[in-house]
């Protein structure tokens, strides 16, 4: 029988047709379920079962005895003597037959039995000849296997009555063992479940107080909770023994509550602390019921208690959080009310729900009247569309809200106000609320306007000084006719500087230059105006990229092109009718290149042998002031000058700001 493999535990034959042979009333599925409910398949050998097969073999005088449990496809041996294999395929199983019988099935000579004559266990090396099996029937009446003995010689005499009876008794014994086994396992499981439930429920324990004899009987957990030996609890002890472990601050109160329950309807509910030596106090809630004798005397008082320490801690924590919240709310209001600004807040959708005291003080509106969309009425009507647009944009994008508008003060005067708001986001990054401020900047605005006026006045004075200096030079030169040319050159240079100043000084609407914008091209056009044709058409054509430029660059640019133009008017393209200049300005990545090309002038012989002051001034302007390179190319048909500047040179202040 051994040769059938059991290592992998599976013999691949399905006997689905077996179902059809079963008596009505139960199915193969129920049978297998009943077998598996014992939880015995593939468990280790157990002495109780081993003893039974040993006894069966002895009684029947057989070399082999087995407890064979018939699973879906295999039969597995819980106990065996005289056999090595631990299971075989169900297709060769004798027990599969035996278990369907009501009594012991006896096969005297398998070779002669049509059911087993060609069974591999019979024809093979194992050579079973004799078989006797008693069915194993579960408590529900389902066959799960058999207790059998096997011999390798035919036994024409079969079993004796005693042997057959013993086999049946032992088979029932096997089932009893298996039932016991199952019951034990179930009890263990339910105990485990109960233990877990108790642990999870924070249930402490139960007591029963015999009030007449003053004896409290308590279970183990209860006793331990009171710092008592569990045996004291089981044996019982006076109430005072238990009360001794109650927190001193709670003893009197609990005693009063017991008194109250005794005099009333007997219902007792109390929360108190237990203080076991060396441990932190535990909070418990005790619920009990006093039972009274017919004459009204309290007799006994059973109850249970539950550990609520953690719940208490949670409650306390909640209270702390609530206190902290209300404190921080109070702090926020105190801060908000003491701020010089008006402070407000809205829901994520922009609905106003809070204003500080300053808002009400400034606007004079009654508290709550500007909640929701009421705030819009406080805005200057001209500023409302703009403010709404900016606010809607912020609400939609979460961008910082910042705008200047006029806000109506309580006296009806509109004051310029700076409104700002930032979104407050939750951990997920969603906007949960907006906090905003309104700052009265009306005075500041006035100061700014005054400052602007002052700086315009100052600028005007500077411009006037250019005129005075220019006049002074002209007047001085009158004394010295030989200095006339010199004076004229200096005055022209001052004129160029004055024009540069005009372009870059702080401007108001009124003082803005009369021509064009404050760009490089507009400035150069103004600078070259004196060199135009009589009909006003320009002789210096400016083309290419325009640029913004500031006061730092202006004087250098003015001097450079004043010198180039003056020179061209004296010796170059602008000295003859028909000659012209093209000034090309190009932004090439981080360079700004200005190319001055003269055409149509007198033929150029080559580089002048001597460098004039004007030339030095131009070079100094570009290389010294603007940090660029200046190159002069003396082409035959006209001078070409290339000023290669860093792109930031024209507007250093702006470049510096952009770096931030």
């Amino acid at each position: 029988m051994a040769p059938v493999a059991c290592e992998n535990g599976v013999c691949p034959l399905s006997l689905s047709n077996i179902n059809d042979q079963w008596p009505k009333g139960w199915s193969e599925r129920d049978r297998v379920a009943a077998l598996r409910a014992y939880g015995v398949l593939h468990t280790a050998p157990e002495i109780g079962f081993d003893d039974i097969v040993a006894l069966a073999a002895k009684i029947c005088d057989a070399p082999t005895a087995l407890i064979s449990l018939v699973d879906t496809d295999t039969q597995w041996f819980k106990a065996k003597v005289g056999l090595v294999a631990c299971e075989t395929g169900r297709d060769v199983s004798f027990c599969d037959h035996a278990m369907r019988e009501h009594e012991v099935m006896v096969v005297r000579d398998a070779t002669q039995d049509p059911r087993f004559a060609d069974n591999a266990l019979v024809t093979g090396s194992l050579g079973i000849r004799f078989y006797a099996g008693a069915p194993l029937i579960s408590a529900e009446g389902l066959p799960v296997g058999s207790l059998c003995i096997i011999d390798y010689r035919p036994r024409p005499g079969g079993l004796t009555d005693l042997q057959a009876q013993a086999l049946s008794v032992l088979a029932r014994q096997v089932i009893s063992q298996m039932e016991l086994r199952k019951a034990l396992a179930q009890r263990k499981e339910s105990e485990e479940t109960a233990r877990r439930a108790v642990l999870a429920s924070e249930y402490v324990g139960a007591w029963d107080w015999d009030m007449v004899n003053d004896r409290v009987v308590a279970d183990e957990r209860f006793a331990r909770m009171y710092g008592l030996d569990p045996e004291v609890g089981v044996a019982g002890a006076p109430l005072s023994v238990f009360m001794a472990h109650m927190h001193p601050d709670d003893v009197d109160r609990v005693a009063a509550e017991i008194e109250q329950a005794t005099e009333g309807d007997g219902v007792f509910v109390s929360e108190y602390r237990l203080q076991a030596p060396g441990e932190t106090p535990r909070w418990v809630v005790a619920r009990g019921q006093i039972y009274f004798a017919a004459d009204g005397t309290p007799e006994h008082f059973p109850g249970i208690s539950v550990d609520i320490t953690e719940r208490k801690a949670l409650d306390a924590n909640l209270a702390d959080v609530a206190a902290a919240l209300s404190e921080s709310e109070a702090k926020f209001r105190a801060i908000a009310d003491s701020m010089p600004q008006m402070v407000w807040s809205t829901h994520a959708d922009g609905l106003h729900d809070y204003y500080n005291a300053r808002w009400y003080e400034f606007t004079g509106v009654s508290e709550g009247s500007t909640d929701g969309e009421g705030w819009a009425a406080i805005f200057h009507p001209e500023d409302q569309p703009r403010a709404w647009e900016v606010w809607r944009h912020s609400l939609a994008t979460g961008d910082l809200y910042e705008i200047e508008y006029r806000l109506r003060r309580h006296d009806g005067v509109y004051r310029w106000t700076l409104g700002r708001a930032v979104p407050i986001r939750n951990e997920a990054g969603e906007i949960i609320r907006w906090f905003g401020t309104c700052t009265d900047i009306d005075d500041l605005k006035r100061v700014e306007q005054n400052k602007e006026l002052l700086s315009q006045e100052l600028s005007h004075r500077i411009k006037n000084i250019f005129a005075v200096v220019s006049a002074l030079i002209a007047l001085s030169a009158r004394e010295h006719p030989e200095a006339k040319a010199f004076a004229s050159a200096v005055r022209n240079r001052i004129g160029a500087l004055a024009r540069a100043h005009e372009f870059v000084r702080p401007h108001s609407e009124v003082s803005r230059p009369t021509v064009g914008d404050m760009t490089l091209h507009a400035f150069l056009e103004a600078l070259f105006k004196p060199y135009a044709n009589d009909d006003g058409s320009a002789r210096v054509t400016i083309e290419g990229d325009d640029a913004i430029f500031d006061d730092q660059a202006a004087t250098s640019v003015a001097l450079l092109f004043h010198e180039l133009a003056t020179n061209a008017a004296k010796y170059g393209a602008l000295s003859v009718v028909g000659g012209r200049v093209i000034l090309r300005t190009e932004l090439r990545d981080d360079r700004f290149v200005l190319t001055w090309t003269e055409t149509g002038g007198p033929a150029v012989a080559g580089q002048p042998t001597r460098e004039g002051f004007g030339t030095s001034l131009a070079t100094l302007s570009v290389q010294g002031q603007l940090g660029g390179r200046l190159e002069r190319i003396w082409r035959r048909d006209g001078l070409k000058v290339v000023a290669d500047l860093p792109a930031t040179a024209l507007s250093r202040r702006r470049a510096a700001q952009n770096v931030r």
Partner: protein
């Protein structure tokens, strides 16, 4: 006939230099006024063909109003000369235009010739590029 020119300018040096330039060119500079009242009185007492008017005078930015009055009421041809041409950006009725300061002799000469040409009904020449004309 030599044109009679009134200089209205509160910076004495600038006024003096302008006077010399104009006199060199053969014009008759009848007077220099540093404030609007003086200028008005002078215009009443003396015959003036052309007034060169600064805007910021010793009594404040009174030049704009003064120029308008001289042009419209006293029949004087008015040319503004100022360091702050933006003040008369939108033009002044009756006045010719504005010349920025500082400027050079040639621009002064061309501008005065242009203004007097207009006054005398001569064919309008090209105005010098430095002179911004008012559209009126």
């Amino acid at each position: 006939m030599t044109a009679r020119i009134l200089i209205i300018e509160d910076e004495a040096l600038v006024a003096m230099e302008l006077r010399f330039v104009l006199e060199d060119l053969g014009y008759d500079v009848v007077a220099i006024a540093a404030d609007a009242r003086t200028a008005r009185n002078l215009a009443k007492e003396t015959e003036v063909d052309l007034a060169l008017v600064d805007i910021h005078l010793s009594d404040g930015p009174t030049g704009v109003e003064l120029g308008r009055d001289l042009a419209q009421e006293a029949g004087v041809t008015v040319l503004y000369m100022t360091a702050n041409p933006g003040m008369v950006r939108n033009g002044v009725a009756g006045a010719i235009g504005v010349l920025g300061k500082p400027t050079d002799e040639r621009a002064v000469q061309k501008s005065v010739e242009y203004a007097l040409g207009r006054r005398n009904g001569q064919p309008v020449q090209y105005a010098p590029p430095e002179l911004q004309l008012f559209a009126n």
